[in-house]
């Protein structure tokens, strides 16, 4: 009896199921993205005919100090949103998993995990509102706490001082982000075979030794995913900048995503805004590709 395998039998007729999704994707993502690239080669105020100017927007970007500064600020946000949360997340997850979970019960561990994760469920704009009020210069809660404990000199205009604003935003982002790696890493640690830890313990490895040589290498896939997704999130960051500082003071917290928004809707330099958005996209796609390549190479070794 020759039964045609299910998967090869009239594969074509499954294509019908792709049509709604494909049409929507075309209308909402692919065509608009193509248009954005097209617009980036024009000078356009959003009304009237766009004027084709070739690569002028991109050459202008090369010499635009505001643009480069916005990328430097973004590096700070990558540190605050991807690098530090990953490092802190590893230590916190291991502490919760190895100490709290094993000796005081997994219930305690998951309650603590929930507390640390909570900022993640807030709309990021709402988190920004909470913090802009805490960091307010006059009657903000942080300055009030500092004054209450006699550290008046440490009270600052956290978001209004150009030297401090980016650091303040970074602190807020760290608070928002740290719960995400903790949850992912704790899930990953459940996957690690306990006998690996027992073997290391028999060999006389300390807790740090086991953490470094067993836990971290075992949850490498999770670390990769967290670093990749958090770095992309940091490059796209918009809402907290909009709510906390509007890119100020004096452009000290401007980021590419906010800069393109300004060009689109405030300065009505749509072509220039589109060029910024295109560069940002290319950067994100290149980063994603590199990350995935490196991860694949690690897996095949």
């Amino acid at each position: 009896m020759s039964v045609v395998p299910f998967s090869i039998r009239d594969r074509g007729s499954y294509l019908w199921f792709l049509i709604p999704g494909a049409l929507l994707l075309l209308a909402v993502i692919l065509v608009p993205f193509g248009m954005n690239i097209g617009i980036s080669f024009t000078e356009w105020s959003g009304a009237g005919e766009p004027e084709w100017i070739g690569l002028d927007n991109y050459t202008r970007l090369m010499g635009d100090g505001t643009f480069w500064a916005s990328f430097r600020h973004n590096v700070g946000l990558v540190v605050a949103m991807a690098v530090l949360p990953t490092l802190a997340g590893l230590v916190i997850a291991a502490a919760l998993f190895d100490f709290v979970g094993k000796h005081f019960g997994s219930r305690h561990a998951s309650i603590l995990r929930a507390c640390i994760y909570l900022p993640q469920v807030l709309p990021i704009a709402v988190a920004g509102i909470v913090w802009s009020w805490i960091l307010a210069p006059q009657d903000g809660a942080l300055n009030e706490v500092l004054r209450a404990v006699g550290l008046d000199s440490l009270a600052q205009n956290w978001l209004g001082d150009p030297d401090l604003a980016l650091w303040s935003v970074m602190g807020v982002m760290l608070w928002i982000q740290v719960g995400y790696p903790v949850v992912i890493f704790m899930a990953g640690m459940q996957r690690v075979d306990p006998s690996l830890h027992e073997a290391a313990e028999l060999d006389g490895a300390s807790w740090w030794g086991r953490f470094y040589h067993v836990t971290v290498p075992q949850i490498r896939p999770e670390i990769f995913v967290v670093l990749l997704t958090c770095t992309i999130a940091a490059l796209k960051v918009f809402a907290p900048i909009y709510v906390l500082t509007r890119g100020g003071p004096g452009g000290s917290t401007n980021v590419p995503s906010y800069y393109s928004f300004q060009n689109f809707f405030e300065k009505t330099q749509v072509g220039y805004g589109a060029a910024i958005a295109t560069v940002l996209t290319v950067l994100i796609l290149v980063l994603t590709t590199v990350f995935l390549r490196v991860q694949n190479r690690g897996d095949h070794r």
């Binding site: 499954y14 909402v28 100490f99 709290v100």
Partner: protein, 270 residues
Amino acid sequence: MKRHAVLWSMIVLAVVMLVPFFLVALNAVKTPEEYSTGGPLDLPGGISLDGIVAFWERVDFGEKLLNSVVISGSVAVLAVVVSVFNAYALGIGRVKGRLWILVVFLIANTLPQEALVYPLYFLANQVGLYDTKLAVIIIFTVIQAAFGTYLLTSTLGGFPRELLEAARIDGANKWQTLVRIVVPISKPTLGVLFVFFFIWTWNEFFLPLVLLISNENQTVPVALGVLQGQRMMDATMTSASALLGVIPAIVFFLIFQRALTRGITAGAVK
């Protein structure tokens, strides 16, 4: 000793993470007078709902909540449906070139919204959908479904072939197989996707900010964010607004926790 030191440092960390929530709740129930005399750290004399009521009325918060529920709920339902269709073709139907199709969906999910926003704004204007909930619903259906397709395709790729084969022998066509076999069995995963899509859409800010310009269409985060930008509120009203933004998120968090565990355990028992 060491165990307790670790436990205590984790408790301290958890408390530090919760302090902002606590401060918001504390000040949202103060009167403006209490706030101006005692500052943000004093305990309130009683529970005053004036700030919350004033803010609620000022922005018509009930309307904003309804907008958010309508938009997020529609997106979650539609995006799950679209994801299922796509993943059925890719994961079970294994149509030709599925790897490349998946790459396109993945890229669609990775693209920054900045690179779509102006064309979407322009196109929405052209077709008369600018400043309508429908425009936002359609856009986020596609964005969420791009991720859903990616995730569901790998789940459905491992769908038991015997069940599909049995359905075919019983005379079910593809549509019947999808509705009667694939969807019921994948329900736990679909439930988790629904919750994710709902919360993610609820939290979105950038595209709704650009596309929902009029008051009666705005979502909760946009209404709060725009008002915050104007900086016209007193401190108690600001913390009241923050509290009203925080509460739905915490409610979802509780539901989300349950849905997630249910999804994971259901997957494990299977």
